[in-house]
């Protein structure tokens, strides 16, 4: 049972980091950016490229992986989303665009690296350490620690840093923010950069633990989106609750029924929440329709 609790903690940490990375982009740009999934995958593959194929140190490889992911995120925003926003496309069309982008990037990855699962090993395979009947690896421990600290840092950044405050201002009302002299395009660019960096960290950590395949990012991202929706957009506590609920539901399903039903349970929770509590735990209302 303590193993289940550890697994829940591990999943929830990763999901909460993904949720906050996605949330930063969502609140500022106001559409669900599914191309984010490709950025998560790209981070892992860049890490694989520099660590495994070019034999750099793992720290250096991760840093380059994160940097490249940020660059990809920024390029997508600059070239595609910004001009679409200028043409006043609806959020649904932006979502479809991001799906198209995801298809392009994901197939690009599988064209270069192939469809098979890649593993990145930074130490010899061993059973893992054991405390109180819990088996864990060092990477999992580092993941939990890093994800939680990055999550807190991201929230502090949004709350107190000038750019974070500007991101919140743009998310509350971008026109009013523009009047106050905040360049909303620049702020969205910042949000994309920060979101990409956070998701890249999560992508690399997951790829170190469980390996890489071109579709790994999509599943991870959807967990993040589900956590964000059930938590309620715009509330940080909501994100934590959402991630914890999702992590517990997944691992309790795996423990009680079978791990193959994890995905189905995740989406059933999402659908139930969308129906009975579309505003999530926090109940912060998003403006969807205005008359």
């Amino acid at each position: 049972m303590s193993q289940v609790i550890f697994n829940i903690l591990y999943s929830s940490a990763i999901i909460s980091l993904l949720a906050v990375s996605f949330n930063i982009i969502f609140i500022s740009a106001k559409f669900l950016n599914l191309a984010h999934a490709a950025i998560i995958t790209f981070a892992g593959y860049f890490c694989y490229l520099f660590y495994y194929q070019l034999n750099l140190s793992i720290w250096f490889a991760s840093a380059i992986g994160i940097a490249f992911s940020i660059i990809i995120g920024l390029i997508i925003e600059l070239i595609i989303y910004r001009s679409l926003r200028k043409r006043k496309k609806s959020a649904s069309l932006m979502l479809i665009t991001s799906l198209g982008l995801y298809v392009i990037l994901q197939n690009f990855i599988s064209m270069i690296w192939g469809d098979d699962t890649k593993t990145i090993r930074i130490s010899d395979v061993k059973i893992g350490n054991e405390i109180l009947g819990v088996y864990y690896t060092n990477i999992q421990l580092a993941t939990i620690f890093l994800c939680i600290s990055l999550f807190i840092l991201a929230i502090l950044f949004l709350q107190f840093h000038k750019i974070g405050k500007n991101i919140r201002a743009v998310s509350a009302n971008s026109e009013l923010a523009n009047i106050q002299g905040i360049n909303s395009n620049l702020i969205i660019l910042w949000a994309c950069g920060i979101g990409s960096a956070l998701s890249a960290v999560a992508g690399i950590l997951v790829s170190l633990d469980t390996g890489l395949s071109p579709v790994v990012g999509f599943n991870l991202l959807l967990y993040g989106v589900v956590a964000m929706v059930i938590g309620g957009v715009g509330s940080y506590w909501g994100l934590i609750w959402g991630a914890l609920l999702l992590g517990s539901a997944q691992h309790l399903t795996a423990y009680a029924i079978d791990s193959k039903w994890m995905n189905a349970v995740t989406y059933i929770i999402l659908i139930l929440f969308l129906i009975w509590k579309p505003l999530g735990f926090s109940g912060v209302r998003l403006k969807k329709t205005e008359i």
């Binding site: 665009t97 659908i271 008359i291």
Partner: protein, 290 residues
């Protein structure tokens, strides 16, 4: 060579029917749905299970498949249509993944990832449709009849209300139409029609497994509809022909199979984005000029 061309024509017919059924929800009623491959798969699985396990003829499996798909779509849409816009898209994505995971994991019913082999060929009143030519004629016949049904639906009062609500939902509601009911009915009809290509596909390939009904397939069908023009049934026909023939063309150029598959997806992604760039600000991409 003739066999090969007939095979491509059959695939195109199946996909045209599939995309046109989605166009009713996405183009005319303005609800972007990513669950369509799921309904297509439900049709295929319904006919496969009924004809392999219970030896029912095609004449019965087709309506049962459609009905079954319709019932599921009705339940799903009653629940899902309470939400709007982006959240509806995410919700349909969730439905798609749940349907896929039932196909993939419910071993006793669907045989899981191994799939269902040995689906018999179609026999109607003693005529065996196992040859490709006859099968194509059957497909075309179904396509033409459903094409006409869709055209009738769109030209009717019902279709006009759908177009109105996709343009301005609140206004349509204010004229006294029950928007929610219209949406549910449109979604259900569209899913029922999507079961038909599923049934045809299952009998044609004679083997189905969950990998044919993934999220990627849903994205592909949606792209056909968007590229063809949301409300343009003929445009969808040409878009389907183009997108189905594209990988074959890439193969003829001499690219290996797996790279051609990836390249095809990259190309349709690029076309999708280009079409969105060219489109108007709301859903109606190729507005019909009256």
């Amino acid at each position: 060579m003739t066999e090969y061309i007939l095979h491509l024509l059959i695939l195109i017919t199946i996909y045209v029917l599939l995309a046109q059924s989605l166009s009713l929800t996405t183009g005319f009623a303005g609800m972007i749905s990513l669950a369509h491959a799921g309904f297509y798969g439900i049709g295929a699985y319904a006919t496969a299970i009924l004809s392999v396990n219970y030896h029912l003829p095609f004449i019965l499996t087709l309506p049962i498949g459609m009905l079954f798909c319709g019932i599921i779509a009705l339940i799903v849409s009653i629940i899902a249509l309470r939400i709007v816009d982006d959240y509806f898209i995410i919700c349909t994505l969730g439905i798609q993944i749940v349907i896929f995971s039932i196909m993939n994991n419910c071993m006793s019913l669907t045989n899981g990832p191994m799939g269902i082999p040995g689906i018999p060929s179609i026999v109607i009143f003693g005529i065996d449709f196992s040859s490709k030519f006859l099968f194509l004629i059957l497909c075309l016949g179904l396509l033409i009849s459903f094409f006409n049904i869709l055209r009738k639906v769109i030209k009717s009062n019902f279709g006009r209300v759908l177009i109105a609500l996709s343009e301005d939902e609140i206004y349509t509601q204010s004229t006294g139409k029950n928007v929610y009911n219209y949406k549910v009915i449109a979604f259900t009809i569209s899913a029922m029609i999507a079961a038909v290509p599923g049934v045809l596909y299952a009998h044609y390939i004679t083997y189905i497994d969950p990998s044919s009904f993934t999220v990627d397939e849903s994205i592909f069908i949606l792209s056909i509809v968007i590229i063809g023009g949301m409300r343009n049934l003929w445009g969808i026909l040409f878009a389907t022909a183009f997108l189905v023939l594209l990988p074959e063309a890439l193969r003829f150029v001499g690219l290996p199979n797996n790279i051609a598959a990836n390249l095809r997806q990259i190309v349709y992604g690029i076309i999708l984005i280009a079409v969105i760039f060219k489109s108007g600000s709301n859903f109606s991409i190729f507005k019909k000029k009256n």
